[in-house]
C-alpha cells in the first residue's frame, strides 16, 4: 500500500498470483523422493461468492467458463469449490491453472481464495506417513501444508506440517508467516 492509500484509508483488491502453481510438480517430486508422498489425484479451487444478486450469476458464469471436468460444490462457509480429479499431478495443476486463468480473465480474480491439492502416502512411504493437503493462497502467492488429524475436534498435526515445510525447502514458495497457515476443516478435496 502506498502512502496515499494509507492516508486515505483505501485498499486495492489484490490480484491473484497464479504462476507459482507451476512450481508444484517439481516440489511433488521432492516430496515423493524424500517422504514417499504422492498426489491423491484430487484438487480443488476455492472462491468466495460475492453477496447479493451477483452471486447466482457468478455461479452459472463459472460453470459456463470452466466447462467440463469439474464438479461444483459449496461448503458450510458458503464458499464455492471447483473439484477436479486427475490421476497425474501435472494434469491437476494444468486444469486448476486453466480454471484460475479463466476466472481471472473474467474479472473474478479477487474472489479466488485458494487452491488445495491432496497428497497421500505412496507405496514407499514410511508407516507413520499421513495424508495432508497443500493449500495455495492466491493473494500471497505461497503454499502451506495442512494436515488435519481430527476435523471434528479441529485438530491438526503441526509437527507433520513443519516437517513437510522442511522437505519442500526451496522448491516451493512456502508461506513464511506461520500465523497465516489457516486450517480448512471439512475440506471437500480428498
Amino acid at each position: 500500500m502506498g502512502l496515499f492509500d494509507t492516508l486515505l484509508g483505501r485498499t486495492k483488491p489484490v490480484k491473484a498470483n497464479l504462476d507459482a502453481l507451476f512450481a508444484l510438480p517439481t516440489a511433488a517430486l521432492t516430496l515423493q523422493s524424500a517422504g514417499g508422498l504422492v498426489t491423491s489425484g484430487h484438487a480443488g479451487v476455492c472462491w468466495k461468492p460475492p453477496s447479493g444478486q451477483g452471486s447466482e450469476d457468478l455461479q452459472t458464469e463459472i460453470s459456463q467458463l470452466v466447462g467440463e471436468g469439474f464438479t461444483e460444490t459449496k461448503d458450510s462457509f458458503g464458499y464455492g469449490w471447483l473439484l477436479l480429479h486427475e490421476p497425474a499431478l501435472d494434469d491437476l495443476v494444468t486444469h486448476a491453472h486453466m480454471a484460475n486463468t479463466t476466472l481471472t480473465e473474467a474479472g473474478w480474480g479477487p474472489q479466488l481464495l485458494c487452491s488445495v491439492f491432496g497428497f497421500v502416502p505412496g507405496p514407499d512411504a514410511s508407516d507413520d506417513a499421513k495424508p495432508f493437503s497443500l493449500v495455495y493462497l492466491y493473494k500471497r502467492g505461497t503454499f502451506y501444508p495442512f494436515a488435519p488429524t481430527d476435523a471434528q475436534k479441529e485438530r491438526r498435526d503441526t509437527e507433520l506440517e513443519l516437517r513437510i515445510r522442511t522437505m519442500l525447502g526451496v522448491d516451493l514458495p512456502v508461506e513464511p508467516d506461520l500465523a497465516r497457515w489457516f486450517p480448512m476443516w471439512d475440506l471437500p478435496v480428498k
Binding site: 483488491p13 481464495l113 493473494k139 479441529e154 485438530r155 506440517e161 513464511p176 486450517p183
Partner: protein, 322 residues
Amino acid sequence: MALSHNIKGDRGLTTRMLMTGFFLVVLYAVLIGVLFFFLKSLVLILVIAFGLLFCQYFFSDKIAMYAMHAKEVTPEQAPELHGVIDRLCALADMPKPRVAIAQTDVPNAFATGRSPKAAVVCATSGLLRRLDEPEIEAVLAHEISHVAHRDVAVMTIASGLGMIAGLLTRVMFFSEMFGGGGRGNNNQSGGQAAMIEMVVMLVSIVVYFVSFLLTMALSRYRELAADRSGALLIGRPSQLASALVKISGEMGRIPTKDLRAAEPFNAFFFVPAVAGQNAQDQGRGQGGGGGFSFGSLFRTHPTLERRLAQLDALEHQLGQAD
C-alpha cells in the same frame, strides 16, 4: 496479575511491552509526584498507593478474567477440563479453583486469585485445541502450582515493595533537601527547587525501574518453581516439556481457526498492511540463541530453553529414583 505461559512473541511485541512497562513506571512516578505537590500529605499518598495495591490484590481474578475475556464454565459446559482439574486438586489436596475458558486462538493458560480458595484457573480455547489431554493436564498442573504457591499474593507484595521503594526515595530526598519536614515552602528559590524536583523525580524513576527489573526476575523464578511443582505433581516432566514446545515458538503460531472463517477479519482480500518481510523476520527471531539478551531482563517468564532444561533434569532424577 496473570501468571501466564510464555508464548515467545515477535520482537515488536517485546519492544512494545518494554515501552509499556517503562511508561507505566514513569506514569506512576509522575502520579506520585503530582500528588505530592498538590496534596502535600504523605498519608494521603500512601493511602492511594496502598488502595491501588489492594485493588490489584483483591480483584486480581476479576481484572485478569476481564482482560482475557475469560468466562467461567460449569462442569456441564466443559466436563473434560473440569475432570482434569478435579483429579489434579485431589492429587495436590487443594480446594478446587473456579474454572474458566477464554475464547482465543492464542494457546495460553493462567491462574489468578489472591488465595487458593478464591482462585480461578483459565485455559484458552487455542490451548485446548492444540494439546492432547496429558499435555493439558501438565499445563494445568503448572497453573495449580501457581495457586498453591500463592503467586498472586507474592507478586503483588513484591511489586508493592518496589512501589514503596520509589516512594521512600522521594520522601528521603525531600526531607534532606529541605532540612527535614521543610517541604511546603519551596517557592523561595524557584529555579533551584525545580532542579531538585527534577533530580528527585529522576531518582525515584530509577529506583522504581530497578525494582521493576527485580520483580520480573522474581516472576521468572516463580515460573520455574511452578514448572517444577507442576511436573512433580503429575510425575511426568516430559509432558509439560512437550506442551511447552507445542505452544511456544513455531508450532504455537500455526492457527487453528479456519481460513474461510478468519478471512473477513484479517482482510484477506486486501494487501496486508505489513507484508512478507516482517513475517520472515519474526520467523527467524524464534531461534533465539543463548547469551544474555537485553529482552530477558524484562520477561516475566524464563526462556523456553531454561524451562526445558529444568524439566529434562527433573525427568532424569525421576528416572534414577525408580
